[in-house]
């Protein structure tokens, strides 16, 4: 069996690691509140529409909810799944390629097959 190596951080490294995790924690909490807020806004808009509040038409609410959903997906990926950190270039490239193809191919189908 390979030897198990134990590595002891220097005090400076320990400080740095502490500061980093503190910042990460703060970011996560902030983003989490933002997401809750966005969810609340979405639900309130729908409730307002149901209650017939003037100005809350379908054509405003559907795009807004879609937009909030997109923002939430972004936050989820970048903050909670750590894509904003270093070393995630390759997964990002593959995800964006997949998203691009997943957008273009249905677009082509909609325009030239089912139009």
């Amino acid at each position: 069996m390979a030897d198990v190596q134990v590595y002891k951080r220097t005090p400076a490294e320990q400080q740095l690691a502490k500061r980093r995790s503190k910042k990460a924690m703060r970011d996560q909490v902030m983003m989490f509140s933002l997401m809750i807020f966005l969810t609340l806004v979405s639900f309130s808009m729908v409730v307002a529409y149901e209650a017939g509040v003037a100005g809350f038409s379908k054509y405003l609410i559907i795009p807004m909810v879609m937009l909030f959903a997109a923002v939430q997906v972004g936050l989820q990926l970048y903050y909670f799944m750590h894509m904003s950190e270093k070393g995630h270039g390759i997964p990002q490239m593959f995800m964006y390629t997949g998203a691009l193809l997943g957008f273009l191919i249905p677009l082509a189908f909609v325009t030239i097959v089912w139009w």
Partner: protein, 624 residues
């Protein structure tokens, strides 16, 4: 497992190959499996050309002719070209990046067995007597109307083989991303590794559409689905889209590794660094992207409308640009180099004009109005054989000579190699050049015979004679391979004398753990750099010699695939035989049980002790 050479019995050897997870052995399996199907597809091609050599020939019937062209195309693309390329990737890429194996050795073996059983399934159609007959594209209305089980063999066989390809692609992606030796940055990767990487990424995105399309076809034919049946609200054109969304990237999946192989050859035998390395990488990635945006150029005449045709025509022509960049880089690599015309180099020299001709006809077809004239004529047949034979097959033959010593430890005879080249090269141009004119003269593709007096006779005769020359070339190659293996003269690390990348700094063939110590990569063409600085071994170790962790072999990949193979027959006969459904269920259960066994078993591999590595090193007399 022990590294001490000992004579094993037949059973033990067989067991060893059935259970191997060593990338070098799987590479050889892919190479031999693909080579077998290459010969099979070649025999089909010879029968096609024999049927067409004179007008009104009745060597085969119209139905058998359809079987032949369908199986020829399907076999050559899915069961010959791709697996042979996978063979080289498996054998070479881990060595080029300084790794001890691929990232998922178990999945690697599973990928091979799925390819092999899928190919077997497809070809059992010949024995059963009902053969796929709707062309390799298997357009839906035709393939739904086809009677008998022919198309069922196609759909299920390709489903199994395609699953294997997808696994191989994912495996190479993970291997190249995660297992590069210290110092091997992305911009220091050899071009064969780069093209393998991009081709694997294309597999990742292109094969799922094929899987879906084949499932739809399977449901339509065997389970009463109506995806492509317009009478029931389906849409037959969707098959064409799905097929080509997969199919066009597929042709680039084939050609990119070929580009990689030729890039290695040009730089090795011009004894120069590859000209414009960054632009080569960029062009490869760009081709990878653009390859997904052009599928409808196979459907210009379907009636998509002028706007769609124009968009796809422009996108198609755009691909010619990065391809042109590559051609000029190869020419400039040779410029001022000290060129050694070995057999691989000969293939590379022949490749440039041949592939350019195929690219030019591609751009012609990309012009939608002209394609109305060319579509479904022999011009198309000429185009894709120029790119596939003039590109992919020449690369495969070149790599067979180039990497034979690394895979088998012996050197193919150079004189016979050149004989093969000339037969094949002349035969290839004879067969396919004239077919451009046959297209212009109006001969449609996929016809089983033609009438006298249309001016097509002589051209077809020339074409058939060319095919014969190619066959002679391949026979000489097989003879060469057999003789070389019988003589069995072992060669040293770098038999070509000018190796530039890591695979040439270790034994031929490498010991099963590849590198005694993981190498340190100091630049592009790291072995060349070391040699220029006077380090004869070509390697600088990145770490001291220590215990090496290795995976255990396993029979489970073979068993898992066997289950799918059995299930395939069950699905096919489900409606007409009482045993169909039980066999389908039994096969799938078999596969799931094998998967469960694999998940539950605690197989963490084994360690090779440092002493043993040191002993091997001493036996070899020093470094690696």
């Amino acid at each position: 497992m022990s590294s001490v050479a000992q004579k094993k019995g037949f059973g033990a050897t067989l067991w060893d190959w059935l259970t191997t997870v060593d990338h070098k052995k799987i590479g050889i399996l892919y190479f031999l499996g693909g080579g077998f199907f290459f010969v099979l597809g070649g025999i089909e091609a010879m029968m096609i050309r024999y049927q067409l050599y004179k007008p009104n020939n009745d060597f085969v019937s119209a139905g058998l002719f359809n079987d032949l062209i369908t199986m020829h195309g399907t076999t050559m693309i899915f069961l010959a070209a791709m697996p042979i390329l996978f063979g080289f990737m498996n054998a070479i890429v881990p060595l080029q990046i300084g790794a001890r194996d691929v990232a998922f050795p178990f999945i690697n073996s599973l990928g091979f067995w799925m390819f092999f059983f899928g190919g077997l399934f497809l070809n059992i159609s010949w024995l059963y007597g009902e053969v796929p007959d709707a062309g390799w594209t298997s357009y839906a209305s035709l393939s739904l109307a086809s009677e008998g089980h022919g198309i069922d063999f196609y759909a299920i066989g390709l489903q199994i083989a395609g699953g294997g390809t997808l696994m191989a692609g994912i495996n190479f992606l993970v291997t190249i991303i995660n297992m590069r030796a210290p110092g091997m940055t992305y911009m220091r990767m050899p071009l064969f590794t780069w093209t393998t990487f991009v081709a694997s990424a294309m597999i990742l995105f292109a094969f799922p559409p094929l899987t879906i399309g084949l499932f739809f076809l399977t449901f339509d034919r065997m389970f009463g689905g109506n995806f492509f049946n317009h009478e029931m609200g389906g849409n037959t054109i969707i098959w064409e889209h799905i097929f080509w969304i997969f199919g066009h990237p597929e042709v680039y999946i084939l050609i990119l590794p070929a580009f990689g192989i030729f890039s290695e050859i040009f730089s090795i035998f011009s004894r120069k660094r590859l000209f414009g390395y960054p632009s080569m990488v960029f062009a490869t990635v760009l081709i990878g992207f653009l390859g997904f945006m052009v599928w409808a150029h196979h459907m210009f005449t379907v009636g998509l409308g002028p706007t769609a045709n124009a968009i796809f025509a422009v996108a198609t022509m755009a691909i010619a640009v990065p391809t042109g960049v590559k051609i000029f880089n190869w020419l400039l690599t040779m410029w001022g180099g000290s060129i050694k015309v070995t057999t691989p180099m000969l293939y590379a020299l022949g490749f440039i004009p041949s592939f350019v001709m195929g690219g030019v006809t591609g751009v012609m077809q990309g012009a939608a109005p002209l394609d109305y004239q060319l579509h479904d004529s022999y011009f198309i047949v000429a185009h894709f054989h120029y790119v596939i034979v003039g590109g992919v097959v020449l690369a495969i033959l070149a790599a067979t000579h180039l990497y034979w010593p690394k895979m088998f430890g012996t050197m193919l005879n150079e004189t016979l190699g050149k004989v093969t080249f000339w037969f094949f090269f002349i035969g290839f141009h004879m067969t396919f050049l004239i077919q451009h004119w046959l297209g212009f003269w109006g001969m449609p593709r996929r016809v089983w015979t033609y009438m006298d007096g249309q001016g097509w006779n002589f051209a077809n005769l020339i074409s058939s004679i060319g095919a014969l020359l190619m066959a002679i070339g391949v026979i000489v190659l097989v003879y060469n391979a057999i003789m070389t293996s019988i003589k069995n003269v072992k060669v040293a690390n770098d038999p070509w004398g000018d190796g530039r990348t890591l695979e040439w700094a270790i034994e031929s063939p490498p010991i099963y753990y590849n590198f005694a110590a993981t190498p340190l990569v100091r630049g592009l063409d790291t072995v060349w750099i070391e040699k220029m600085e006077g380090n004869e071994t070509g390697l600088t170790p990145a770490e001291p010699i220590k215990d090496i962790h290795m995976p255990n072999g396993s029979i489970i990949p073979f068993l898992m695939t066997l289950g799918l193979f059995i299930a395939g027959f069950g699905a096919m006969f489900r409606t007409e035989a009482a045993w169909g459904l039980p066999v389908l269920i039994f096969g799938l259960l078999w596969t799931f049980v094998s998967m469960a066994v694999r998940s539950l078993q605690d197989d963490t591999g084994y360690y090779i002790k440092k002493d043993e590595i040191l002993r091997d090193l001493k036996r070899k007399g020093g470094q690696n």
